[in-house]
């Protein structure tokens, strides 16, 4: 801990810095969250209003993830960044949870199975899923605590701040900067939800879930083997 240098930054300067950091790295955040947001939103009924509501819920949950992480960063300081062992475990676990959530929410897994039992005509899975707040909230939270490159940069800087409120404000500002870049996702509500569109979104969600699941499990296995 002695090697850590706490740099006192004036509150306004840290807010400005975090906001700029968020604004400049926002495109990367947009791309990082795409695999969770796009199939989920495309599998929902189309209406700009309902889609906006879902996206706002997603962003609120993402902010909650940010603030939780900010608290962790403040408590543990830069040791959190250095504790790479714990980091790897968390990365693997988050990816496995993300995979499970994508399967459950975007692909409508339990609902899909019910349909299979009721009716052999799988064509029904082309129907949009009814909106679920839990879906947007879970996916938002999991992407919020995921370690994307801009988030790591913000974490290193946030860990150098002296007080918890300063760290929280720093992350809040960073979130505000990145959230601006999420505007294009609102337009997903304009895409017409044909049966084809919903089915494609769901197959994509299953593929992405497989990817994150395999990736997360391999991280966990590698961690188990190599210690």
């Amino acid at each position: 801990m002695s090697a850590i240098h706490f740099i006192p930054i004036p509150a306004f300067a840290s807010i400005g810095e975090a906001l700029l950091l968020g604004l400049t790295t926002g495109p990367v955040c947009l791309a990082s969250c795409g695999p969770a947001v796009v199939p989920w939103m495309l599998a929902q009924p189309s209406s700009v209003r309902s889609q906006s509501k879902q996206l706002l819920l997603f962003l609120v949950a993402r902010l909650a993830g940010y603030l939780l992480f900010a608290t962790g960063v403040w408590v543990l300081g830069t040791t959190m960044m250095r504790a790479f062992a714990a980091h790897t475990w968390t990365m693997g676990a988050i990816q496995v949870f993300l995979a499970a959530s994508l399967l459950v929410f975007a692909a409508g897994w339990p609902r899909l199975r019910r349909h299979e039992k009721q009716n052999a005509e799988l064509v029904h899975i082309g129907k949009p899923i009814r909106q679920k707040r839990s879906g947007a909230l879970t996916l938002g939270f999991l992407t919020g605590i995921n370690f994307c490159p801009p988030f790591l940069v913000a974490s290193v800087r946030g860990a150098q701040l002296l007080t918890l409120p300063a760290t929280l404000i720093f992350f809040l500002s960073f979130f505000a900067g990145t959230a601006v870049w999420f505007t294009p996702y609102f337009f997903l509500g304009l895409v017409r939800r044909t049966q084809t569109c919903v089915l494609v979104a769901r197959i994509t969600a299953v593929l992405l879930a497989c990817w994150y699941g395999i990736s997360g499990i391999s991280i966990l296995i590698a961690r188990l083997i190599h210690g």
Partner: protein, 391 residues
Amino acid sequence: MASSTTTVSRPAPFRGIGRSLLLTLPMALWSLLIFAPTFRTPEHDHQISSLLVITFMTTLFFLMMRTGKTYRWRRIFFVAVGFLFPVGFISSLIALRGSMSIPIERMVTGDTPFCYMVFPMLIVPAALTRTLIFPGSILPTESNPHSIAAMIALWLGMTLVLGKAWCGYACFFGGIEEGFSSIAKRPRIRRIDPRFRLVPWAILLFVVLLSAALFEPVYCSWLCPFKAVTEFPSVHSIESAIQTAIFIMLFAGLVVLLPLLSKKRTQCAFFCPFGAFQSIFNKIHLFTIRFDREKCVDCSLCQSVCPMMAISPESVREGKTLLNCMKCGACVDSCRKGAAVWHLKGTKVGLHPERARLFFLYGAWAMATMFGGYILANAIDMTLHFLPFHF
């Protein structure tokens, strides 16, 4: 009398020889124009390969004109390109770097030959962060002539002319599958769930989203079946060994086994994300295949012969093909009632279908000669180099 009953009557040719030759003349001139530079070089191998390709392409076009059939003659060209592309490409890789595998240091220096399959994955990262997520060079270099800029220009030009017909007249990967799908007389797998047609769109969305999130062309790193016959990252870790195993398994399953069993281009129809991307251009392409509802007897023959499953009962009722139609002409050639016709958008269905076919074929064959013809010439050239004697 007995002999007359056993004689197999041949269908009458579609056009006379003179008229067919006249219609072939522009293509013959175009071929000469394309390959003219090789006749100025002192290399006899180049000249022989060019001459062979000119003859091959012109003959096939003549036969298209003479018989009025498209699919059969196009297939000969397309399969030849598919099977000869790896010959030329692998030989040049071995000549350049001594191996099919690409070492990591060559990727770092941007020496990876660019492949059009990457296009859809480049767009989002390039738009958002102005980053090209491919380890190639933008402009051609001595060690890597297949640059990004050259390939984009070529693809753009060809897409404007061909649209989705790229998959039937230009994609050298598709030729391999078409070759395997042509071997069996009858399909072993007859019933394929039509919803599999949507999988390429899902894979497209999957690779676009994931490539943007991870900043790497995910399809090339993990999912491309054709890495098995072109080039792949050198095996230096468990990860690269798994990647290579996936490439080989996908190639064996989707490009060899399933086309053999189903007589369909399974990789193109149910997997290829670039094919889905290219389908978008069918919306703006001038030429299409339509069904004349007055002549159609709903025999479903067109649906069973379509290698891409681009015709459904609903689409026939609507008088058109689905978005993934690559205009190979299989349905038109097989329709006994003449209900499936070539069509120029904006004109009445069934009005001058042969004229529409002719206009389409001039564009498509010109591109095929330029792109596929070069591949054929290169492969023949390489083969001639390996002969114990030289011309």
